[in-house]
Amino acid sequence: MSVFNQSRSRIIKLIILIIFLFIVAQLFYLQIVDGKRRQLAAMDNAVFAKVVYPERGIIYDRKGRPILNNTIIYDLDVTPAEIKGIDTASFCQLLGITKEEFKQRVVDAIIKNSSVRPSVFKGLLTKDIQARFEENSWKYPGFTLVERPLRTYPFNAAAHILGYIREADSRDIERSGNFYRPGDYIGKTGLESYYEDVLMGKRGVQYMIKDNRNRLVGHYENGRYDTASEAGRGLQTYLDIDLQKMAEQLMDNKVGGLVAIDPKTGGILAMVSGPNYNPNDLTGSDGGKNYSKLVLDVTSPMLNRAIAGKYEPGSTYKPIGALIGLAEGVITPSFGFPCFGRYTLCGNGKPACTHHGAGHAANLRLAIANSCNSYFAHVYRLTVDNPAYNDVEDGFEEWADYMHHFGFGVPLGVDLPGESRGNIPDTADYNRENNNHWTSCTNLTLGIGQDKMLATPLQMANAMCIIANRGYFYTPHFVNKIVDETEDDTTLMNPFRKRRNVLTNISDTAYNAVIEGMNDVVKFGTARIAQIPNINVCAKTGTAENYTILDGRRIKLPNNSMFVCFAPKENPKIAIAVCVQNAGYGSTWGGPIARILMEKYLNDTLSARSKADFERISKANLVPHYFKRVQYKEDSIRAFKWFKMTKDSAYIQKYITVEMRQQAKLQLAQSKPTKQKNLPKKQFNPLYFLKPEYLVHS
């Protein structure tokens, strides 16, 4: 029987062979044809690219002192699966949390990262808690301290300049082409932002093997593919931290901006914006809280007014107006103007002049020293109405062009983000407003630095540099050198190293006349307060009127105190622009501030007079009162919105006065007998947003 079927053994073998070949074919497809894809999938499964963050670069001042450094703070991480038999009560006491909170955080950690992987239990521990935990850490298995680098500002200064880092938000990530990932830190403002690429260094990657529960179990291929991280490079700045600190103290409790530049290099020696804040407040465990406080402050402490505050330059414009006139040949240094207290040639007797004695504007030097409004209004008119040009529009454009060369109305390109261009109006503005019919009288006050002219303190200081240098400037900047500078950095740094001969075409006689005039301002003009023994200071004061609208009424605020200067006259080493908002005359606040800083920078010591002034000014609080009212309004509105949204009365409470409560009681008593429907609908109710019942009982 078997013999008959022997052929079947071959058929069986054949079937086996065919089926095996099928399997081999599938293996060929999986492992060779399509293997690459699966290899990647397996890599994706098992290899985790762990990013190694380099240390961020350090920022130094001109003497090599670190003014922005790194330190380490600790996060407390938890691996929920490893928590075993810990004394929850003592642990909670140590951290100052409740047991419920403890449970909630552990549950959150499990949800976020599973119970076998660590997640942050409490971020940014205070030194105190960290020390206490370290002592007792053996008692709490599953909890570990994890180092976290933190930026620190050893001098508690230069917040606006240095800026801060924060976690990259979705916009940063998108803009970077997904280079940054959620959780990465990125420089948000200041030098931290402008030099982000230099400071951040190069991220390294460690390829780690993970298992099916995403636990890291070791280096992939013994770290063969890992790339080391490269620490961020430091920045050497022109900033003089002593000068900066002094300037910040002087601008304490003041609103405004201050810039000091070395005209020879364009290097910024100090820059202050008031109100200021301590940069260390934004880091560490209270960082978030302080940040929101600053954001909600109506005086905008986070705004860098030195580069983004726009002010009417007022009289500080006059030396520039004079230079334009001289350059255009419409005046000579000996040009005089008969001013008797008012400018009458435009018919309305404006602008008025502080002086009215004859001869106070007999020549340019005198006009500058006495800050004659009529004189400079007239010089402006002469410039725009220059017969060399067709009409006032052409003349105006020529004037505006000069202004742009002086750095007004254009961004200067300082190495900080958020620079304002100020404002130099153009002909289109006046054409639109005046139906295409306007004369030099229309915008006459441009001649005394008003009308639509707006400039930042940085632009004003830079204009001083141009005058001090007699026609050239370097783009104002902070960073002198990048540590270990390479070829690649040249594109970043070159703009700051190029001498810009914007106005060297103006003759030296013109410059000399103006500089002498500015020297006279200090010698016997409006800025006598800025005199420094043995140093020839050139300066110009300015006072600009300003108004604000509060509670629907336009109110006049105290004048802005403006002051620009440079010194020494013969060999300028420092140019300063100061603007103190709503402080009064330029000479009362801006002048002494600038003088103290010049003394400090040039002599390295303060005279007795300056010491006294320093005390007086740094203690003075010149923040306009109306801010208080604005703050109150903003805060109460926010508290009300919060109450409406959450029914949480914690914030609204303090805005409810005793009178409001009494009124509410009264109203409630009245409304009781009648039904609420019968109440007149449009009756004014000061407490329209709160139920009377609530007010009475709370």
Binding site: M1, S2, F4, N5, Q6, R8, S9, I12, K13, I16, L17, I19, F20, F22, I23, V24, Q26, L27, F28, L30, Q31, I32, D34, G35, K36, R37, R38, Q39, A41, A42, M43, N45, A46, V47, I209, K210, D211, N212, R213, V217, G218, E221
Partner: protein
């Protein structure tokens, strides 16, 4: 006879033994690779009986010792006791019902002491023996339908019990005994019809029911057209064709859906549909699960296994990653990687070359067994050998096929390689009985 006794090792087919040793060696390596943890002391853990590879090593020794005793046994013992073993096997299978534990949802395991014992694995040996015994009986005339039915009964009765234990996968193994019957003269037509029904079954899953009915009707009409002359002479042919057509459509429209709804379990249907990349239309959500939960279950279930298994095997490329560098299997991405999905470890660690070598080894084993079978003088030995070949073949094809995504996920072990005591020892016994019988190939056993 007295002279033969000292030469007990003489008639042994050493090639089978060598292949056996090679395969168990590969198996131990693979289990080691899949479960070894960095820093374990290798020698200690091999001896310690704590790790899986150590346990497997001891199972191998136990199996070999049993195998040695089998070689010492008189070859007549096996045909003589075949039916007794069969009865014992059936009793063990029945014993499962009162004694079973529900490890991993299987109800086919008896626990005693620290050991799990799965009668369904062992029972294969007994069925192979008793089927060989029945086929070798002089009174059996396998050309007769009655004998064919009895043989089928012997093979499939245990399978029926096992299905009741919800181990459909293990039950399917018993269908491999049709290879024995085919070799002994079971008409090929029957197997072809069987295959046709299998094809129809697959078509039912893959093709839309109405389209399939339409196609079947088309085929029927075409056949009628082909046989139009004969039909004119004999009306019976037409009746037959119509009957077959009705049967096919009936199966397709009613029998398969019925099976799916009432016989197979949810996860089995899921696996079958997964294999063909289809969504399970019988997803009735009996457990009241939401769609998302069902989807999650699907992803974490068999399709996840197969996807990870394919990734593991595919990522091995040509030469593999090396045995301890196989990330997929080392870090537990493939579930069941030491038991049912052990082939992944080989595929990932040794690549295409290693996988083909392993398959070649299996092919060599199967061909060798068939060659051995054909040289037997006694029908019993031959039938037993074919039984062994069939069982091994089915295990190999289904297990590897499942790992590479060609077969549905049926939890059956890879012979000599998968981790598991019962499995390794029973395959060893299965093979060693064959070696023992082959040593006496000149004898006629009954």
């Amino acid at each position: 006879m007295n002279q033969q006794k000292p030469n007990i090792l003489k008639g042994i087919d050493w090639s089978l033994i060598w292949i056996f040793l090679l395969l168990t060696g590969i198996g131990l390596t693979a289990i080691f690779a899949a479960t070894y943890h960095e820093g374990d002391a290798i020698v200690q853990s091999f001896i310690g009986f704590k790790t899986d590879y150590s346990k497997q090593f001891y199972f191998f020794i136990i199996g070999t010792v049993i195998g040695f005793f089998i070689l010492l046994t008189d070859s007549k013992f096996f045909p003589a006791t075949a039916n007794v073993w069969y009865v014992v096997g059936i009793l063990m299978l029945l014993l499962v019902f009162p004694l079973h534990s529900s490890v991993k949802g299987t109800e086919s395991i008896i626990r005693f002491g620290g050991f799990n014992f799965q009668p369904a694995e062992v029972c294969k040996i007994f069925v192979a023996l008793s089927l060989a015994k029945y086929l070798s009986l002089p009174e059996t005339d396998f050309t007769k339908l009655r004998s064919q039915f009895i043989a089928t009964g012997i093979a499939l009765f245990p399978a029926a019990i096992i299905i009741l234990q919800s181990e459909t996968g293990l039950a399917l193994v018993y269908f491999s005994f049709f290879i024995v019957m085919y070799r002994e003269g079971l008409p090929a037509v029957i197997l072809l019809i069987g295959l046709a029904f299998a094809a129809l079954f697959i078509a039912t899953i893959v093709v839309d029911p109405n389209t399939l009915a339409f196609v079947l009707t088309g085929i029927a009409l075409f056949v009628i057209y082909l046989y139009r002359r004969q039909i004119k002479k004999k009306k019976r042919i037409l009746v037959r064709i119509v009957f077959v057509w009705l049967l096919c459509v009936g199966i397709q429209r009613f029998a398969v859906p019925y099976t799916f709804e009432h016989v197979l379990q949810h996860h089995q249907i899921e696996r079958i549909y997964n294999l063909f990349g289809k969504n399970n239309p019988y997803d009735k959500n009996e457990d009241g699960l939401t769609k998302a939960e069902v989807k999650k279950q699907k992803e974490s279930g068999s399709s996840y296994n197969v996807r990870q298994s394919k990734i593991a095997i595919g990522s091995g490329r040509i030469f593999g990653k090396g045995i301890l560098k196989a990330t997929q299997t080392r870090y537990d991405f493939v579930p069941e990687q030491r038991t049912d999905f052990i082939f992944c470890t080989v595929g990932e660690g040794f690549g295409f070359v290693g996988s083909v070598v392993l398959l070649g080894l299996y092919l060599l084993l199967l061909f060798r067994i068939i060659t051995v079978a054909e040289r037997q003088r006694s029908t019993f030995s031959r039938c037993y050998a074919y039984g062994v070949a069939g069982v091994l073949f089915f295990h190999i094809v289904i297990n590897i096929g499942m790992a590479v995504g060609l077969a549905p996920v049926i939890g059956i072990p890879l012979p000599f390689i998968s981790y598991g005591g019962t499995s390794l020892i029973s395959f060893t016994i299965l093979l060693f009985i064959l070696v023992r019988l082959d040593a006496d190939r000149q004898m006629v056993l009954r």
